[in-house]
Subunit: 206 residues, 2 copies
């Protein structure tokens, strides 16, 4: 488990066509934590293209430093990566080495595909949940959750939910006051209830 009294490395594992806000929402809050260093990696290193048209520089992934948190966005690129055995093998190594894993949106499909969510509760984008769930039926998929925590895995619902989950993670490890302070600094209206999901089908029907 992550040790917050020691230096923490936050490693974002990227691939082409990742969804911008999946990554950048959490990064905004997590990079402000005390005692953290941020790294951006990909399978081959170099420039990675976001779905929204910019390029971000990455190092090639070799291994995670001790006491790392792995950040895994989703997006259109997941549709390709979920079939890419070399990518998945590298990701699996990172997941096993990480003390904590945060996936956003369809990033959970990658974790499901490598069997790392089996028997665990998890969630994903509500518009893509049936596709995501098809990668492992033995995950306890939650269709009404802004985010879900099970063991070392935090999984969030669609895109913007990653910000709420990240602040929830901050509250879990550093306390509610720091989470609220980070939200206030960014003038962010935090949806701070993990089980309140305005975008689940059931919630919309109410």
């Amino acid at each position: 488990m992550l040790k917050i009294e020691q230096p923490i490395t936050i490693v974002s594992f990227l691939f082409d066509d990742f969804e911008t806000l999946d990554l950048m929402g959490p990064v905004e809050f997590l990079a402000a934590l005390p005692n953290v260093e941020t790294k951006y990696v990909s399978l081959a290193g170099g420039l990675i293209s976001s779905r929204q048209g910019f390029q971000i520089m990455t190092d090639n992934f070799k291994s995670l430093p001790p006491n790392s948190l792995l950040l895994l966005p989703g997006g259109q690129g997941v549709r390709k990566m979920v079939e890419d055995k070399i990518f998945l093998s590298s990701l699996e190594k990172a997941v096993l080495q990480a003390e904590l894993v945060l996936s956003i949106c369809t990033g959970a499909a990658l974790l499901a595909q490598i069997g790392q969510l089996k028997g665990r509760k998890a969630t994903s984008n509500k518009l893509a949940l049936s596709w995501v769930a098809s990668h492992d039926r033995e995950v306890l998929w939650q269709d009404q959750a802004r985010w879900v925590v099970d063991g070392k895995f935090y999984t969030s619902s669609g895109v913007s939910a990653g910000m709420d989950m990240s602040l929830g993670f901050v509250a879990d490890f550093w306390g509610q006051d720091l989470a609220e302070e980070l939200a206030k600094k960014a003038e962010y209206v935090w949806q701070n209830k993990a089980d309140q999901d305005p975008f689940s089908d059931k919630s919309r029907a109410i």
Copy 2:
């Protein structure tokens, strides 16, 4: 004024130590608009470092294409850029060429410094508003606004307000339905009232 029936170029004007979510929140929504192309520029081009520890590739700014929207983030880097005459001269050229300008957070200080907000209503991050306002006292600074529109200038409050402003801009030009659709796709709880500001001092006192 921006013509939405013609191709639009969304140009993000970047500098080192820009605030990640100032840029990436709006980019998430604006890049999804019909008929848009996105570009990322800086004074000298090349890799620009965000405050949150990653590098993004930019072209060097020469001039804006016709029918461009200029996106200007804020952040720690503004404190340096607001004194940089070469940067400001280049930015002024971009602002004058743009059909529409969206600034986020302390990005408004840069617009104020080059005199482009004089006599207009504008806003900025509520924790930094007095510093931002010091760059031009003849701006009609609004201390209770999530975002403000005046002429071709949209200015937003702190960091996260950029997302709400961007969706407000979409609603103004393409209609409320598209703005709500983009918010829903990203599972974003849109704070859709420009004049409701939960982070202004007065609001907090109520």
